[in-house]
Symmetry: D2
Subunit: 337 residues, 4 copies
């Protein structure tokens, strides 16, 4: 149940309402966005309670959200969520490009890639220091060393960095270095990790699980918001289907749908979404044309030498060309890049 | 096996080569496209045969296509297939919009829809006279009466018409009326129907089966080409996945992939692909941005009264707005609309 | 809407009721099973009509089936459908084994296979004379010659024969030879074919479409029953999923579900369902243990030489061993084999 | 690469070989099963290395496993893995039934359920103390209190207990109480958790991810074995497909396949696999008939009051009836229950 307060309500008055609600034995969460006049109520929200709550002064109305993801929904916050990461605004008019190699494989190669990616026009640097790998014998990432290299790349380029956090243990250390923490597709329903990330003071990008419905994806984001973190980015990265030509089936329709259902920014990862570098350009065009707020793209200066996901990585020059085209698409739909 | 002839070969010389190949017990099919200097060979294509074939005068080289869809592949024909339907060029620079109601439900309503669709800027009229329905008790289409109404709409608007053919029995009658014959998703592997359509003198649009891989889809098109019909349009219309929010998952990545693997024009049906009219605009943008040669869109003047698929039909005015945006996307990638 | 008649109603009285219903402008279909006291009503079944129909003498009650597949449902007929094919009872206590090679590849080899299959204990012979193949260049079956060979095998072994019918054109000829007509997975929603088969006087086995839900499968069977053919066998044969180790994912749970929802016999095809001969024995055990009324199994005397589907074919001796085990499982659940 | 030692090799000699291999810069892992004469080698296993390794005394042969899951494969250990949990042997002739409510909801109700489940013939008690829930607002389990209740139930019934561990943090505490630790479907690729569990001294049951291929599932188990835990149970629990009638599609074919590829015991969870209590009996029959080494079944004395997964829970008396039938199926395939 959502309690909408009168728009002239003061903080002090909200406190008063909150107290009354708690006295009824209800849980109360305040909206952290612009809509600070909404309270999310948990507990027994039966008819009787509702009737009483409606009579509390300053309470304008009571809403029962249409979806189980309450704080993530447009019912809870009508305007799009916009926030800043360094100088970069996420969810605003300007589409945001996060790019870089799949994994941080070494200092020199990563710095070179970072330079190239910045040169080409990316806004945020990506790179994996902790890698989830289906084989225990595969390269698992440089871990903290990788984070340090990324931090160096940030200093060098001035671009914020995003990297994946694999488990609760490393939330703290990753948050120490990264500007945005990424939840991978295999962790979308790692609820303990989500709760931890809901309490970290950094933005989180949450990838859609490879077999998650759109509703389950938004529910996973609800874990983050319900814990108090409202700087959340949704990222479509392809779902698992019977088609084997592509690594996954990139569900572009998830973009307009997630944007209609939720106020959170929606990104697309065309690299994992297809697994084929030749598809990255057309699918990036498609994503932006369909309204995505940004992209997460794998770019590698020498894909053939990449320790992971080489076949889906773009060369920096192809990436630069792509940004050029994307810019024009963005303009058509009233955005910039 | 494909036999590529010297480019100066005359028809008479090709006949000679063909005779020699047949004398070896091989089957021979001539390319029907611009590449009339390629022959597709069936039968025992072992090492010995290949060696001998290479020595035949006028034979330049012998190719073993990388895919089982030989005539559909770029190995067989490098340039894109382009053909005309009335005044409309398919597969050329100009993206082509086919639009109209899902089903022809009555003379008056269809003519009104046709007028509106033309007004909005569509190039080809769609409409179903024979409807495949999962329930035997659902509306099955007006059949020949529907075809007659569509023909009247063509006269009235000057636009060519496309309609679905459900079975071999009706190929002839549908071909009598329609300018393009459509194979529905449930019929993509109705091989008898495909063979029949391979021999009809009209273009065929073949929808991807809802659980067909891209390779199976191109193999289905191979049935048409192998029977002599080279005016074939591929149409992605969504695949069946675990996601239930959308009716199907529209696989936009199938567009760049099919276009790389094949010389045939590739269209997208965003209406069946999502089942939600709100998604039609963004997904049409995505399709054109990803390189689709055209769209197949459901437009209905009063979707709520539609006997089938109302929820996925656009209103004519929304459709007109959409075409306006699509035009700009088309221009970015060097096309028109 | 289903109209249930008083159990003492005579044919003459039913005729009278039928006339009255038709006078209301309603369509009427009589149950063809044991429940000859049920009428299926199509047309406007609104409140007013229902109220009037209830007052007609001999009408005991009016049912609105819970599912769109009305005549296929248990609402329409509570007892299981049982019918005979030659001496073999389908849907009764005794589980029925249909076996043989995927395709009829030649007279001698088929007769040899038929002999082996009979020897091993099969009740019905299978074999494909018309083959649906994803490539136009693959072996397409011996067609009528194949049917003749199957008929010869029937004379020789005394076993009834089942074979696939690919399209309406060949319904008549296949029905001339075969005892059961099989609808393949790709044709499950070939509605024209279904209507035709609904009017043929022979039993039909309808395979589940590889991407069909259980409801769609039962709806396809409804096409057959609604046209008057009530000798219908449902056959689960594996659905298309992301798993690639098996050719399809055999959905054993479809057996208890289809049997609960419908009165029709339910068979399982473990050969296509897995594509691996090693899985045929365990999955056949699973199918019978889960309550399947029978199996459709590929058996081939020399799988390596098979023109199609060799890897999923059992050798006759392994098949005989399997029947031995199946017999014991059947007994546990109160059946025989 | 696997190095197979001569069967008369002494521990001392193996130490010697191990030293030599390490001197080549290779990683060495000893088989923990009966096959203590096999070493798993990681590092550069090129031709040169292999040639040298073959010449080391006591080395009988060198194997390159056909699959990426080396220690999990039959190449590594031919005989089935068998181990004891309390008095219960897992992977042996006797099929093992683990049963109980989905979640521990309270002391009294759980003890009652445990009693009923024991009475009915179960061998191991199941119950969830930590629950992964797609909504942050749903019941998340009693946590340590739940573990204590389960331990009490163990004392009372004498049955070992199995419960889920959700994250690395709680591995230690769960291991303090439980006899078997369960990895849920959403955690199958939580690699950090797997590594941790590879080092715990307790058996682990790993459920197949709802969108994991059989190969990925076995790779996940490889994480456990490669860390030294060889008491691992594989558990098929249904995969996500387009079918919505069942909660998941229970892939029974995964049983014979996993058993052929791996030496680990394979269990089936028919409750989550179908989500429908009516399907639990037939699917349990199917699982045992297909060769499963055991089952994980939800049983609840009053399913309607269950806080989670009531619709898929069996009543104790239905469960007892089922065990009776399963016993007979087990006997047919040379097992007991």
């Amino acid at each position: 149940m959502l309690v909408v307060m009168n728009s002239r309500t003061t903080d002090c008055e909200i406190n008063e309402v909150e107290k009354q609600l708690k006295d009824f034995g209800l849980g109360v969460q305040r909206s952290h966005g612009k809509n600070r006049f909404i309270l999310r109520i948990s507990g027994d929200c039966g008819l009787e309670t509702t009737t009483v709550v409606k009579t509390i002064p300053y309470v304008e109305k009571v809403i029962f959200p249409s979806y189980p993801f309450e704080m993530v929904s447009r019912d809870y916050q009508e305007e799009k969520t916009v926030f800043k990461v360094g100088e970069v605004e996420i969810g605003a008019e300007k589409a945001v490009i996060m790019a870089g190699p799949c994994a941080v494989e070494g200092r020199e190669s990563y710095l070179r890639a970072a330079e190239a990616v910045k040169e080409a026009g990316a806004h945020i640097l990506r790179g994996g220091a902790y890698k989830p790998r289906s084989s225990p014998y595969a390269f698992q990432g440089l871990e903290e060393e990788g984070l340090k290299i990324m931090a160096e790349a940030r200093s060098m380029t001035g671009l914020p960095i995003i990297t994946e956090v694999l488990d609760q243990y490393s939330v703290e250390i990753v948050a120490d270095y990264a500007d945005i923490l990424q939840v991978g597709t295999r962790n979308m329903q790692n609820f303990k990790l989500l709760r931890e990330l809901g309490q970290v003071g950094k933005p989180v990008l949450i990838k859609r699980g490879m077999s998650a419905t759109i509703e389950e994806w938004l529910m996973a984001a609800e874990y983050l918001l319900s814990e108090g973190n409202d700087k959340v980015i949704l990222c479509e990265r392809g779902i698992r289907t019977f088609e084997t030509y592509t690594r996954n089936t990139l569900d572009i329709s998830a973009v307009p749908i997630a944007k209609e259902l939720s106020h959170l920014p929606v990104f697309v990862d065309p690299s994992h979404g297809t697994g084929l570098w030749k598809c990255v350009h057309p699918m990036s065009m498609a994503a932006i044309a369909a309204g995505a707020d940004g992209l997460l793209v794998e770019v590698h200066p020498s894909p053939k030498e990449a320790l992971c996901d080489g076949p889906q990585s773009l060369l920096p020059d192809k990436f630069a060309l792509m940004l050029n085209s994307l810019k024009k698409v963005a303009e058509i739909i009233g955005r910039t890049l």
